[in-house]
Symmetry: C2
Subunit: 304 residues, 2 copies
């Protein structure tokens, strides 16, 4: 069976593309490893227009409910994308074919690359506060990073932990001012600026972090857990075999219609250079809609 | 008093800019003639990600509820925008000043420019099905146009009227396939293609339309009302005095950050060339968010 369209990724961009593909009655398949994508890691979203406050999980569930009729969703890991006469998408389970592709595979979390990071993964080290915050009730926890995600993770963790340290390598955390204010008013959270984490230490579980600078008279700080929130890199390894143009940081270069340089290949969401690289759920959803519209126009002409 | 930011327009783009301005704690004022803008004319929205089905009125109310703290909204008509040391925004009531401006004034409905159109406005002629459909209970009504808005208006009108004629000048209506299907399955609706309306006739109220082609053996068709849904033109008369660059159709030319060629002037929504001119609530909301982010970055540097 040949699909008209395969969407790679089921985060906000992929699902929004699916919503619009449903409206256009495109025979489409959405393939993604993680339902809802990394958006589901956000425990509270307050800036997606339409919802004063909603969890990422619930918002993505709502997106999914709007995908109907002609559009299927499969939870599989895409391993390879290549172009022959048709596009060939290989997953860990199956091989699929389509006439057009939307790449909405998002980004992968950046790692600190320090000793102990891999060793203690799941033993105190986590990249997802939404998933793991509740395991640190009455514990001391560090959040490494200074962006919006780090700020939100610290807020969430503080609902469980007894004490939260935000450790950031630069002068001042760069989260949204509203989030900075929330953090400054939160008595459980302390910010440690101008500091890097050199090592994660422990026995069976995380016990402390080694810092490159003293804090309260010691370069070691006792914590039971550490959330690493230092940003992401685009998951573009997939597009190597398609000849899609990337920018110097590996993001897929798209035009206003979310078209790449390869005919029939569109991209949407955090993986692209679109929306001035302002990575929000609202921008990803918009890009997904536009990509689906462009794919629809392409397919209509192909089949005419 | 000088605002940091004035947003002109309170449709999806303007309100989304307001939501993000709230998050950034920008001292901002949103000025718009119509709360919710033309989005409120949509009686049923099914493709805004997050809502399976919602009225434009309700969705815009939800947007408005997310605007807090530092952002005010005023329902006034903006008459002039000009740049001196600051931006000067003149409304029908007041003169306001700001350091930056987001133009999100949307589009105005296009008119047929035929005899009877102005004469019978409010007497059977309408540009807003959401506003007026209920006045045509058990009546015969025409909808002129073939786009998504025309299709949705016909669907809405059919919930009241006894018979609905879609009159379209081209071969085939160009609404979303899902909407076309809904219309084809609706027994009250008949589509008259390849036909123009030449005149709207009546005494006190609309009584018939003169067509440029016979339908059922006559070039006159009896109707009690006519909804004109033939698209829109950008409301850019405001930007004349600012030197903002427009494209050949009068849309404000923006870059990926929703910046215009004039420093401190941003634009978002249907009035711009953004999002590949795919005019949707989701794209307008995204552009509003991006414009607010760009304005925030600009103001931060200005005030630094």
């Amino acid at each position: 069976m040949v699909y008209d369209l395969i969407v790679i990724g089921q985060g906000p961009a992929g699902l929004s593309a699916g919503i619009y593909a449903s409206r256009y009655k495109i025979n489409a398949l959405i393939i993604g490893e993680e339902p809802g994508g990394t958006a589901t890691h956000a425990y509270k979203i307050e800036n997606y227009p339409g919802f004063s406050s909603i969890s990422g999980l619930d918002l993505m569930k709502k997106f999914r409910e709007q995908i109907t009729d002609s559009v299927e969703i499969k939870q599989e890991k895409v391993i390879e994308l290549k172009k022959e006469d048709l596009f060939i998408v290989t997953t860990d389970k199956e091989i699929y074919k389509s006439k057009a592709v939307i790449v909405a595979a998002g980004t992968k979390r950046r790692e600190l690359n320090i000793p102990g990071e891999h060793e203690f993964l799941g033993k105190g080290v986590s990249y997802c506060a939404t998933c793991d915050a509740m395991f640190f009730k009455d514990k001391r926890v560090a959040v490494v990073g200074g962006n919006d995600a780090a700020a939100m993770s610290a807020m969430l963790v503080s609902e469980y932990a007894s004490e939260v340290f935000i450790i950031y390598r630069k002068e001042k955390i760069r989260a949204e001012p509203k989030k900075v204010e929330m953090i400054e008013n939160n008595k459980k959270i302390k910010i440690i600026n101008n500091t890097n984490v050199l090592e994660i230490k422990g026995n069976n579980m995380v016990e402390s972090l080694v810092l490159d600078k003293e804090y309260n008279g010691s370069s070691e700080i006792k914590v039971d857990g550490v959330f690493i929130e230092i940003g992401s890199v685009p998951s573009t390894v997939l597009t190597n075999k398609t000849g899609v143009n990337l920018d110097e940081n590996g993001y897929i270069i798209v035009d206003e219609g979310m078209k790449t340089n390869i005919k029939g290949v569109y991209a949407a969401g955090d993986i692209t250079t679109g929306s001035d690289k302002f990575w929000q759920i609202i921008t990803a959803a918009s890009e997904g809609a536009i990509a689906a519209k462009s794919a629809y126009d392409f397919l209509k002409n192909e089949n005419a």
